[in-house]
């Protein structure tokens, strides 16, 4: 993106209310969270405005970029529907303008304490005595796992006892999963194709693994 020399007044131009609304909308489209009200987005917009003011270049990027979004949206970016607005942002995601907003949104939106509450993050705990008595171990949908290190002999003895129908507690700790999968000597199985969703699109690994010599 080149500096808009044709419009030098923009450096001192204050951001209009319309431009601020466009900025809030950009953040909402780029970082959509159905659970979030407007307030965290508005605070994030304000922080972006404050940060951009610290350099002429950033300020130019922001103000000129916001101005141009309405044109790109053929009238009003704020009135474009979610799909149109998202597609429009995809089209400009390589620009300095969008990267400025993206970077500062990530830094500020997720550092907002109301957002922490909405996401279920309780944050600072030291003054409250940590999480020791506030649920650090309250997960109850899985069995209590062993916490000590693996002791093959104890586990084998426990298993032998169980096989013989006697009640032998392993000294390696509490019993783990009720399932018995594989012997300790058996290497862990390779994963099979999974049915669950993967967001691995960001990973270069798929292409790069073709470089790897696999000597199976």
């Amino acid at each position: 993106m080149t500096p808009p020399e044709s419009n030098p007044q923009s450096v001192t131009t204050t951001l209009t209310d319309d431009a601020r609304r466009v900025l809030v909308r950009v953040i909402q489209v780029a970082f959509p969270h159905p659970r979030f009200p407007d307030a965290p987005y508005e605070r994030t917009a304000q922080r972006i405005i404050d940060a951009a003011r610290e350099s002429t270049w950033s300020w130019l990027q922001l103000t000129q970029g916001l101005r141009s979004l309405d044109d790109l949206a053929s009238g009003s970016f704020v009135d474009a529907d979610d799909e149109q607005a998202f597609a429009l942002l995809r089209g400009i995601e390589q620009t300095d303008f969008f990267n400025l907003i993206r970077r500062l949104s990530v830094l500020n939106l997720y550092d907002d304490h109301e957002v922490w509450d909405l996401l279920g993050y309780e944050g600072p705990s030291f003054e409250k005595g940590g999480y020791l008595h506030r649920g650090f171990n309250d997960l109850d949908w899985l069995p209590e796992p062993r916490i000590t290190e693996y002791d093959a002999e104890a586990e084998a003895a426990a298993k032998a006892g169980a096989d013989a129908g006697t009640d032998t507690a392993g000294s390696a700790g509490q019993p783990g999963s009720t399932e018995q999968l594989g012997s300790p000597e058996q290497p862990p199985p390779e994963r099979s194709p999974a049915a669950t969703s993967r967001d691995a699109g960001n990973q270069p690994s798929a292409a790069e693994t073709t470089m790897t010599e696999v000597t199976r």
């Binding site: 996401l119 993050y121 030291f126 796992p145 916490i147 099979s192 969703s197 960001n202 000597t215």
Partner: protein, 522 residues
């Protein structure tokens, strides 16, 4: 605190107060040796530490400019932050997790065990596990590592419950809540953990061992330590015979000072240590101090890492409690059938929304990205940490085009992933996803490596002077009274978190220095 005169040539001058330098300073002062400890950062107290990710980051991270190149993704996402280390008294022990596994026997013999691997500079260490074992014992006792020497294990937190159950169900057995250098119950004058979830931010409760809460107070109490925070070393000077005789540093007021030295211990971290050796070049040592071999700055390693964050339909609250008190060791073995040399650990990790957003997929936005954050409460996380392959061309050099605020050349970090690193990371991602699937994950997200907390190998140990920079005691092959005391000396990286091995090696080095001082050889 004692004050040593700048012209006094009797002290050992230690550069850097992290795991290596702090250990050397403590062991020497305990035995009556005067030590000047130069630390580039401030002295923070536990009261200064904050339960806030970005505030703590800005309080303690080493943010002096660095430049990067190479195929590793950090060069694109965080070009000026290749490493996540700490600039404060205690160094990166302030930020480290607390995980303290030992190296395995084969990890000291990588060239012999793995054979030749194309494109690597693998080399056997000049020391064996057997030789280091007594020092591992001493290190674990100092740190109070859980599961060791009678120290009880930490309890299972929520993130561990998911990890351990998943591990068990896919056939792993080597899982536990440690060893972990954070007190489960009071030990060595420090309290048991209150599971506050902020040990990466210094641990206000001081349950986590760090140089700043243990070694520094004890060393100061001996009356033999002159601790100088905000003192940035810029050059090691040498005398006519080629021995180190002093250290130039910038004092808190910005003035250049020279402290004379009998012995110099260099422990500025794997990026700053080679930088300082290279900045100490002179007509006598034109390629930098201790660099006749040409190995200074080379073989930079950063561990093969990655994270998987898995979503469930029930709450996890991974952020509650000790972040890394969950370690799986089943993949730490050399088994080429997996398609790569060496092995890796899987360890619990938890980030708050601020850091998860910053590091989950740098540069990403849109609904795929926000889905990761929307699931925050129901998310479990782990970190893959394995041995990466040393490569001669992965290297710290002085950037000829960039200078810092003192006008000194900025360190440049070049790193290319080796195909072995890529294959190991891919295997780790798959195993982690399978582990979480086994306990009902509804989805999982692969996170690329964070800025490196494990920085290794730029002044490596070698039996022969032509193969490395220092000998098995960390003594420079070229300079008899110059020691390197940090993880720069690692010949290869092993899979283990490096802290315990840094402390063990530095303890062994201090014993050697004391012995040589007594014999009049230093």
């Amino acid at each position: 605190m004692t004050t040593v005169d700048h012209g006094d040539d009797s002290p050992v001058v230690v550069i850097g107060s992290g795991a290596g330098g702090g250990t050397v300073a403590y062991e020497l002062t305990k035995q009556g040796v005067p030590v000047v400890l130069l630390e580039a950062g401030p002295r923070l107290s536990p009261e200064d530490y904050v339960n806030d990710e970005w505030k703590a980051f800005n309080q303690m991270a080493w943010l002096d400019p660095r430049t990067t190149s190479g195929s590793f993704r950090l060069a694109r996402d965080f070009p000026n932050l290749p490493a996540w280390t700490v600039k404060a008294v205690g160094g990166t022990t302030t930020h480290y997790s607390g995980a303290t596994p030992r190296f395995k026997d084969y990890e000291f013999k990588t060239r012999s065990t793995y054979g030749p691997v194309d494109g690597t500079s693998l080399l056997d260490w000049p020391i064996t596990l057997e030789e280091l074992e007594p020092y591992y014992d001493r290190a674990e006792i100092k740190l109070g590592s859980t599961h060791r020497h009678g120290r009880p294990p930490l309890p299972a937190n929520n993130n561990y419950k998911v990890l351990a159950n998943g591990a068990e169900r896919i056939g792993y057995r080597q899982y536990a809540t440690g060893p972990y250098a954070t007190n489960a119950e009071p030990y060595d004058g420090r309290p048991g953990s209150i599971q506050d979830g902020f040990n990466f931010q210094g641990d206000k409760n001081t349950s986590k061992w760090s140089i700043n809460v243990r070694e520094i107070p004890k060393a100061l109490a001996t009356g033999n330590l002159d601790l100088r925070p905000n003192s940035h070393a810029v050059q090691i000077t040498t005398d006519a015979s080629g021995r180190a005789d002093g250290v130039l540093y910038i004092d808190p007021e910005g003035n250049l000072q020279r402290q004379r030295a009998r012995v110099v211990s260099l422990a500025a971290g794997t990026i700053e240590t080679p930088r300082l050796l290279l900045m100490s070049a002179s007509p006598r040592f034109p390629d930098g101090l201790a660099n006749s071999s040409g190995h200074v700055g080379r073989h930079y390693m950063r561990h093969t890492t990655g994270s998987v964050y898995a979503r469930f339909d029930q709450p996890v609250h991974m952020y509650r409690g000790e972040a890394m008190a969950g370690i799986i060791g089943d993949e730490v073995r050399h088994d080429p059938d997996r398609g790569f040399a060496s092995g890796y650990y899987l360890e619990t990790i938890a980030l708050g929304p601020a850091f998860l957003a910053a590091f989950a997929d740098p540069g990403a936005w849109g609904p795929e990205f926000t889905k990761v954050l929307d699931s925050y409460e129901n998310t479990a996380g782990l970190w893959i940490v394995g041995e990466d392959m040393p490569q001669e061309t992965n290297r710290v050099t002085l950037d000829p085009t960039a200078t810092d605020k003192h006008g000194l050349p900025v360190p440049h970090v070049h790193f290319d992933d080796h195909p072995n690193d890529v294959a190991m990371r891919e295997h780790g991602y798959r195993q982690a996803e399978m582990l979480y699937d086994a306990v009902g994950a509804t989805g999982a997200h692969r996170t690329p490596p964070y800025p490196s907390t494990h920085n290794l190998g730029t002044a490596r140990m070698s039996a022969r002077p032509e193969d490395g920079v220092v000998d098995s005691y960390g003594r420079a092959h070229d300079v008899p009274n110059l020691f390197v005391s940090d993880s720069s000396v690692f010949t290869t990286g092993a899979a283990a978190n490096p802290l315990l091995t840094i402390v063990a090696l530095a303890t062994r080095q201090a014993d050697f220095v004391l012995d040589e001082l007594r014999k009049g050889n230093l």
